[in-house]
C-alpha cells in the first residue's frame, strides 16, 4: 500500500471512469450448508466512486462485503482487488479500511490510539503516526477528542472515530457496513453528506452496504441492488430509479402501481405521474393510459393529495392505483366518485 500519498486528493484529479475497477467479483458464491447467501455474482466496483450494495436483509450484501474484506472465504469464484487476485488473502494483507455497524472501537485505547493502530502496524515513525491520526480525526471533525476514551463518546462520534481509523491507513477501498443504522434519524441524514464529503475529499473508492433506498439514492455514484444472493440491477441512481429493471427493483425503489400492458408485460408508473379526472371527460393527455375506476380513499397531505383508485384494466382485472395529485386538482373529488386515471405514455415504465 502506498502510505505516502496525502489523505486529501488533488481537487484537479477527477476519477477516470475508464480506469481499472477498484475491486471485482468473478462468479462468486457463498454457501452456508444448504443456504446460498451469495449466488454466482459478478460485479465491478469503480475506482474513486461510492458504490452501494442495496437490498433487504438476507440479500447477500453484507456477506459480499465480508468476502471483499477477507472475513469469509467464497465457496467459489474469484475476488480481485486493484486487479490482483485477493480471494485467499487474509484480511490483514488486503490493505482495506472497514467501518463496522457496531463501530468496533478498541475500548482499552484512546481515540488517538484507535486511529493510530493501523499506522503503528505499518511501522511509520511515531511523529508521522501522530500527524496522520490527527489529520484523520480533523477530517471527521473530532480533532479535539483525541485523548478521550471511546465509551465517553456519543454514537455519532464513535462512528466518526471508526471512519477516521479506517481512512488513516489510506485504504485501497473503504468498506462501510450499514454505518448509519445505529444513529438517530437526524444524525443519519447529516452523516450521509458527511461521508459523501469525505469520499470527495479523499477520492477513496467506497463500498457502502445499506437496506435504505433513500440513503443509497442520495449517496451513491453507483448502486447494486441485490436480492436472495443475486444482483437485480446495477447502475447510477438515476438509471436504477428512473428505469427499474424488474418488479423487485421497482418495489424496492418505492413504486406501488403495477399494470399489465396489452402485450402481457408489466408496467409501472410513479404516483405523481398519474392524474385523476371525472369519468367520461376528455381531460388529461391524449393517448397514453386511461383507466376507469372509482375512488377508494383520499389522503390530504397539504400540498398534495394521495388518491387511492380501484381501476379496471383492459383485461378486466381490478388494480389499486395510488395517485399523487395537487391539492387544488382534488378539490372536487370525493370517496366513491367514478373517475378516470390518466398518465402520459412517457411516464409508463415497462419492467
Amino acid at each position: 500500500m502506498n502510505t505516502t500519498t496525502p489523505l486529501r486528493r488533488n481537487p484537479e484529479d477527477h476519477p477516470d471512469p475508464q480506469s481499472a475497477p477498484a475491486a471485482s467479483f468473478k462468479n462468486v458464491s457463498q454457501v452456508f450448508g444448504d443456504f446460498t447467501a451469495v449466488d454466482d455474482i459478478s460485479l465491478e466496483i469503480p475506482a474513486g466512486r461510492l458504490t452501494t450494495l442495496l437490498g433487504p436483509s438476507g440479500c447477500g450484501k453484507t456477506t459480499s462485503l465480508r468476502m471483499l474484506a477477507g472475513y469469509s472465504q467464497p465457496s467459489s469464484g474469484t475476488i480481485y482487488i486493484q486487479g490482483e487476485d485477493a480471494t485467499r488473502l487474509p484480511p490483514e494483507r488486503r490493505g482495506l479500511g472497514m467501518v463496522f455497524q457496531s463501530y468496533a472501537l478498541f475500548p482499552h485505547m484512546t481515540v488517538a490510539e484507535n486511529v493510530a493502530y493501523g499506522l503503528k502496524l505499518r511501522k511509520l515513525p511515531r511523529a508521522e503516526q501522530d500527524r496522520r491520526a490527527q489529520e484523520s480525526l480533523d477530517m471527521v471533525g473530532l480533532g479535539h477528542l483525541a485523548k478521550s476514551r471511546p465509551r465517553q463518546l456519543s454514537g455519532g462520534q464513535q462512528q466518526r472515530v471508526a471512519l477516521a481509523r479506517a481512512i488513516a491507513v489510506r485504504p485501497k477501498l473503504l468498506l462501510l457496513d450499514e454505518p448509519l443504522s445505529n444513529l438517530d434519524a437526524r444524525l443519519r441524514v447529516q452523516m450521509r453528506s458527511e461521508i459523501r464529503r469525505i469520499q470527495g475529499e479523499t477520492g477513496l473508492s467506497v463500498v457502502l452496504v445499506t437496506h435504505d433506498q433513500d440513503e443509497a439514492l442520495e449517496m451513491s455514484d453507483e448502486m447494486v441492488v441485490m436480492r436472495e444472493g443475486k444482483i437485480m440491477q446495477q447502475g447510477a441512481p438515476q438509471e436504477v430509479f428512473g428505469a427499474p429493471a424488474n418488479r423487485f427493483v421497482a418495489e424496492f425503489m418505492g413504486y406501488e402501481n403495477f399494470l399489465s400492458s396489452s402485450d402481457g408485460a408489466t408496467l409501472t408508473v410513479r404516483p405523481e405521474h398519474l392524474g385523476v379526472v371525472p369519468a367520461g371527460t376528455s381531460q388529461g393527455p391524449l393517448g397514453g393510459l386511461r383507466l376507469q375506476g372509482h375512488i377508494l380513499d383520499l389522503a390530504y397531505r397539504g400540498v398534495d393529495v394521495l388518491v387511492t383508485v380501484s381501476a379496471r384494466e383492459a383485461n378486466g382485472r381490478e388494480v389499486r392505483l395510488m395517485c399523487d395529485i395537487r391539492a387544488e386538482a382534488a378539490r372536487e373529488l370525493q370517496r366513491g366518485d367514478q373517475v378516470d386515471v390518466v398518465a402520459p405514455t412517457a411516464s409508463l415504465i415497462e419492467l
Binding site: 474484506a69 477477507g70 472475513y71 487474509p90 484480511p91 490483514e92 488486503r94 490493505g95 482495506l96 479500511g97 472497514m98 463496522f100 455497524q101 457496531s102 468496533a104 478498541f106 475500548p107 482499552h108 493502530y117 493501523g118 502496524l121 505499518r122 481509523r165 491507513v169
Partner: protein
C-alpha cells in the same frame, strides 16, 4: 441500598445479619484471654493469635494451601483461557459439548471426583498425593476459569478482532493487542475466584490428603475435632482478614462490579 423497595431492603438487611453476625462472634472470641470458645469473651488478649501463628501444623498447612491454590489457579487458567477462546471465538465443532465438559465439575459432587481420583491414581497407580491433589483442584477451578473469562469474551464484540485484522494485524498480534487486554479483567477475576475456591476447599482435599500435603481447612477440621479452644477462632479471623485485604486490592484495581459482573450476567 434501594430505599424505594422496602421488602428487598428488609430482606437484604436480614441476609447481612444472618451472614455477618456469626462471623462477629467468631472474631470477638478470637480476642479472648480465657481458654474456651465462649461469648462474650472473658478479656482482651492476642495470645490465641500468637498460638495460631506458632502452631506448626497450621503454618505448614497454610503453606501447602497457598502453594496448592496458586498452582491450581495457574493451571486452570493455562487450560481454561485457551479453551474459552476456542469455545467463544473458534470454529469448534460441538462447542456446547466442550463447554459442558469444562463446566461439569460444577455439577458432579466433589466427593465423587475426589473418590475417583483417589481410587484410580493414588490406590491403583500409586501416584503421589500432591500431584493428584493439584489435578483435583485444577479440575475444580476449570469451570470458573471458563465461565468468568468466557463472560468477558462473550460480552465483547467479535468485530473488535476483525477490525484489528482489517487494519493489518496478524492473528497473533490481534490476540496480544486486542483479545488479551479485553480478557484481562476476566482473567483477574477468574484467578481471584479460583484462588479462594481452592483455598477454602474441603471435600477434595480431605480425600486426597496425605500427611505431607494437608491443607489448612483440613488441619483446622482435625484440630476442632480434638480440641475446642479460641485458637481456631483466631485462625479463622486471620483468614478473614487476609480475604478482606484481597477483596480491597481487587476493588481498587478492577472493581467488584466488573469482576463479579462477569458471573451475574
Amino acid at each position: 441500598m434501594n430505599t424505594r423497595k422496602p421488602v428487598a431492603a428488609a430482606l437484604a438487611i436480614v441476609g447481612y445479619i444472618v451472614m455477618l453476625v456469626p462471623i462477629l462472634f467468631v472474631v470477638a472470641t478470637a480476642f479472648t484471654s480465657g481458654s474456651t470458645l465462649r461469648f462474650p469473651p472473658e478479656g482482651l488478649s492476642f495470645q490465641w493469635f500468637d498460638a495460631a501463628l506458632s502452631y506448626a501444623p497450621f503454618t505448614g498447612a497454610l503453606l501447602t494451601s497457598l502453594q496448592l491454590a496458586v498452582a491450581s489457579t495457574f493451571l486452570a487458567l493455562a487450560v481454561g483461557v485457551p479453551a474459552t477462546l476456542a469455545i467463544y471465538r473458534g470454529a469448534l465443532p460441538g462447542k456446547g459439548l466442550v463447554e459442558g465438559l469444562f463446566l461439569s465439575p460444577l455439577i458432579i459432587p466433589e466427593l465423587v471426583v475426589g473418590l475417583a481420583l483417589y481410587q484410580q491414581l493414588i490406590i491403583t497407580f500409586r501416584v503421589d498425593n500432591w500431584p493428584v491433589l493439584l489435578l483435583g483442584h485444577t479440575a475444580l477451578l476449570l469451570p470458573y476459569a471458563v465461565r468468568v473469562t468466557g463472560a468477558a469474551l462473550a460480552g465483547s464484540d467479535v468485530s473488535l478482532e476483525e477490525a484489528a485484522r482489517g487494519l493489518g494485524a496478524s492473528p497473533l498480534r490481534t490476540f496480544f493487542t486486542i483479545t488479551l487486554p479485553i480478557l484481562r479483567p476476566g482473567i483477574f477475576s477468574a484467578a481471584l475466584l479460583g484462588f479462594i475456591t481452592s483455598f477454602n476447599n474441603v471435600p477434595l482435599s480431605l480425600l486426597l490428603q496425605s500427611r505431607e500435603s494437608r491443607t489448612l481447612p483440613i488441619t483446622m477440621l482435625d484440630y476442632v475435632q480434638q480440641s475446642y479452644d479460641p485458637m481456631i477462632a483466631a485462625t479463622s479471623t486471620l483468614i478473614l482478614a487476609a480475604t478482606m485485604v484481597i477483596a480491597v486490592i481487587a476493588e481498587r484495581t478492577v472493581g467488584f462490579a466488573k469482576i463479579f459482573g462477569g458471573i451475574n450476567r
